[in-house]
Symmetry: C2
Amino acid sequence: MQPFVYTLAVEATPPSLQDNTGDIDRLKKAITAANGAVVSIPFSRLAPIAARFRKYGFKGAAVINDLPSGPRLVDFLAGPPRILPAMALDLGTTHLEASLLNLVDGRILARGNRENSQIEFGADILSRIHYAAKDDGLSRLHLAIVATVNELAADLALQAGEKKESIRALAVSGNTTMAHLFLGLDPAQLCREPYIPLVNTPDPFAAAEIGLALHPAAPVWVMPSIGSYFGGDLISGIMASGMDQREETCMLIDVGTNAEVVVGNREWLIACAGAAGPALEGGVARMGMRAGPGAIEHVEIDPRTLALRYRTIDGGKPLGLCGSGIIDLVACLYLARIIDIRGKFRQERCPDRFVETGEGLAFVVAAPQDSAGGEAVVLGQVDLDAMMRSKAAMYAILTTLINQVGLDFTDLNRIYVAGAFGRHIDPRRAITLGMLPDLPLEIFQAIGNSSLAGAGLALLDRQNRERCLRLVGKITYLELNVNQEFMIRFSGSRFIPHTDTALFPSVPVFD
Amino acid sequence: MQPFVYTLAVEATPPSLQDNTGDIDRLKKAITAANGAVVSIPFSRLAPIAARFRKYGFKGAAVINDLPSGPRLVDFLAGPPRILPAMALDLGTTHLEASLLNLVDGRILARGNRENSQIEFGADILSRIHYAAKDDGLSRLHLAIVATVNELAADLALQAGEKKESIRALAVSGNTTMAHLFLGLDPAQLCREPYIPLVNTPDPFAAAEIGLALHPAAPVWVMPSIGSYFGGDLISGIMASGMDQREETCMLIDVGTNAEVVVGNREWLIACAGAAGPALEGGVARMGMRAGPGAIEHVEIDPRTLALRYRTIDGGKPLGLCGSGIIDLVACLYLARIIDIRGKFRQERCPDRFVETGEGLAFVVAAPQDSAGGEAVVLGQVDLDAMMRSKAAMYAILTTLINQVGLDFTDLNRIYVAGAFGRHIDPRRAITLGMLPDLPLEIFQAIGNSSLAGAGLALLDRQNRERCLRLVGKITYLELNVNQEFMIRFSGSRFIPHTDTALFPSVPVFD
């Protein structure tokens, strides 16, 4: 275990006429004597380190950043600290999630989250890339995200009884566009063919260099990307799942704005990404929402009585449907024969459950009097169509990828499902829809916010940092936008569960 | 030859859908392919480098800083430049001297010098150390020297038809106090027992970090010191003389504010320093002055007729005496028996050449009507006494040191004499005074401003930079302030040429 920042107890012989070595050189020698490391020192840290080394009587604890270019001495303390706080950050397009880790023992000191304040400049990645092209646009986006990170850091520090300036390191995991905006780098090429990032693997830098109000010498680790559509969040996901270290072949599915999928093992990894996400994250349906208070995450419909029950995340009155709620609902509607295999409403099954809206027919999940907002929670045909496209895209991505490597779904030892989607989804329902392959349920494993978890892993051990640098060179990226096979498979997947019902033996088929 | 900054021609395959590697990562790969170097990039240089790499069609010349911690990519040019300017700087207490080198071919593009603007805060090292202890004192001294260096850089750039922002590197050689003030580091411990520098060997840093108006990523190399009284200027001197690479044992004498002496060869080096300087640099005598226009650098007195002739450095009327002029004068006064072996005036030899001044008797070198200032150029008894102490200290330093290593002066293959002192001094006259040992004249070799020359060597080749880092660990420093032997030898040297005249067979002895 070599954390991103560590301390080393050192005790030097005090200076004398017989040994007139300079303070800084004396300290460097003592460090080399203690653990063999030959450290360099950033210029801005020379004076404070020398002053503290002298003040503490030439003994104490050296604070060292463990960088790929070598160990870097950044501070000197009176003695080894009990707590060395470091921040792991999932830099989402809409939402930031962070944890404060103690690098001394690996324990979590605090957790927090915050809305991405860049939203005022654009709700999605593409609108932000366009905004960045305006005068000052990039700078505004950069300053906004740095401000959000600083607020989140202050939150975490407060919870842990620390100051934000005592946060000694940061690891950031986000999609490629978010990483560019965080670094203040022009994202223009990310959305232009051939979709080239300005940088995949930035060298670590000091927090102060981008205006982060952590310890000024806190090193910042940005999870590397392998392309515009495959960011550091996915590298984190692979690390958190551990699939890159397993002998058995596994799959990782991360549904955010895009659906990103990786298949492989410790020998090889192949990845692709596609626009399957919005509906699944609750972003497309009119009543769709993030998994949070008031979100319906689970739905049951009795196929005989058609009685409907739902559960919100917080147990309160419903406001809308999150991704897993929509999947549950649509699967149940299918099993209750309220929608047909093409995903079209069969109003005649229960006419009183339907209403006409400005956008056409909609199925009522919760009546106005039962909802938190006083407005009915509904699923419209428009939402349903979007859902059908998303689920078709997802299954097409999965089959194209698995076919590409000459395997069958049954060859997979495990399918890791990342993110809020993975946490709330019921795989049985996703199989019913034909979105996930018809495999035994124990194959599916939710791994939570693996973007955040991967950032934490990078903070805690050099082996993980080296591992994510190696991953960049190890992953083969399959471009689906130019893939004919994907388009064919997409068409075949636009039925429930599929045009080829033999692929889903566990799902009942109705005429 | 690996200069401190070099360029590398690179040509990368342009990005495509088949190869979506990020711009920066593409460039790094191309560099590694070209010369095997794995470069890191300072955060602040990411955006400009990426922009230029793309603008120039993914080919051109990478600008790389060759740092001890590894190669660092700092810029990208359209093609290999003809000129890559770098500044070598001798950071003197009173005077700065600099040259602009072309790192492409090692040639000198320009030379310049400037008074050290810190003089307004204190004329000598000690007064500046005291000034630094005041409120804002250190900061004022730091800003003053940075401003002087910036002006000098602008001078050099102008001469060479370049901008100062195009100066790609700086190597600085100065005494330990000047190095601290240049770096903005507290020099307080330098003049307090046990005389400990804050740092001996600072890691290279970027010019912008201390407000230098060179290229912002220009690496700054500060010649390491081995103690308060043995600075980077001496390390430069050793390098410029080459004595650290020779099989034969040699000696280096550098007379500045102090007299600093090194003896040794490629196997070992021992050094000491002592306060022998001021009189020799023209700093003590009332009419003393730096070697420059109007300074009498050479004097002859006919021992029979007592006729006196002198020569000024510029051939014009005299203003005062520089160090070599004083040495010449005192040696001639002794040979003409106008002073005795104790260094006291014998007024009776030529009463008309003497005047009474407020400070006592003085010998007239140039009458008022012959001088540039309209005031007689004289040497007073007070000046003479100071000169005697200086020459005694010098010889005592040399003999203490040579004795310490169990050698005799005749074991020396060469005595290098550095600085303005070395350039102008006539070794024959210094021997007459008993200041330098009585050796064949060809043993003595003037090496000019070796502080500046050493800085240039560091700029031009990595081997030299590694060499000066090794020198720090190789030199044994002999502390004279606590040395009994030195005091005894000092007393014995307070006669002309010496109490033990057998040591100076070539010098005539009078009664």
